[in-house]
Symmetry: C2
Subunit: 171 residues, 2 copies
């Protein structure tokens, strides 16, 4: 799909069709897209924990108190940040956001639905996911992205341009 079209037509998918796991190519493309985001310095803070087992998706959805329908997705990827690679949380949060955005765009490009759920900045969500995934102390869960076949195909509706949010020359 053309980049601009992918960017403006992407939307969050909350209901998934139960399906098998994604192909290895699809998984690799999604992770490669995420890892192509820019980062604050040469050190990239991100790590990705990929969950595909139905039981794991169900447990994660429950822990986060998110809606049940999400666990039918084919995959959940927890985007994490390693504080050893980048100490300032302002910077790793920015890098991980850009990586997450790339991931959902790549999923949309492949005709897959996705949902970006936030973990950071909620301390309780970071704790619960960190324990669930056995993350080391220096690693923080930042976001989780569910990806899979949408139960209903997305209608291709582009986001509206908010003209009042653009300022020319100064505020």
């Amino acid at each position: 799909m053309e980049t601009l079209r992918a960017i403006v037509t992407r939307r969050k998918t909350l209901k998934y069709k139960p399906s098998g796991p994604l192909s290895k190519t699809a998984r690799t493309d999604l992770l490669r897209a995420a890892m192509s985001a820019p980062s604050a310095g040469k050190k990239k803070p991100w790590h990705f924990v990929v969950l595909e087992e139905d039981e794991a998706l169900r447990e994660l959805t429950g822990l986060l108190r998110e809606r049940d329908s999400l666990h039918s997705a084919a995959m959940a990827t927890v985007v994490c940040a390693d504080a050893k690679e980048q100490e300032h949380m302002g910077h790793w949060a920015i890098d991980c956001s850009a990586a997450t955005q790339n991931l959902i765009l790549a999923a949309h490009d492949k005709g897959l639905g996705s949902a970006w759920l936030r973990i950071f900045p909620s301390k309780s969500r970071m704790k619960v996911v960190g324990e669930f995934l056995d993350l080391p102390d220096h690693v923080s869960a930042f976001s989780v992205v569910f990806v899979g076949e949408a139960k209903q195909p997305l209608t291709e509706r582009a986001a509206a341009l908010q003209a009042e949010r653009a300022h020319w020359g100064r505020w």
Copy 2:
């Protein structure tokens, strides 16, 4: 350009060919892409201040102590966040990151170079840019994106997949 190709081949451009302003269509496409990012709630925190005057780009580059070559870009867009729309800086920083990522991807898609420079989380950079743009107190400068014709065409080199950053099933 295909979405995945745009995502993995995008890189930062630091040297620009002096040129006229971007077309209105190009400007609109870039802003529309930025505004198509997901946000924490229904309220979107972002505002975009677009600078095109040579003098303004020169001044901004100087204030940020960034390299001179950037001011030859056709446009600089300062991505800002309105704390009235979203109070938690963790959330607006995430939304503005996703918007900034969309903006640089859309520029690359159009064959334009771009450079994402951080303002947040540096308090001194936020202050200096806020004063320069006359931002109201509840509005924070988050990032600035320079866009223009690259002095040298980018060689299309895809970012490497960092296999050691992917974890399967658990950490």
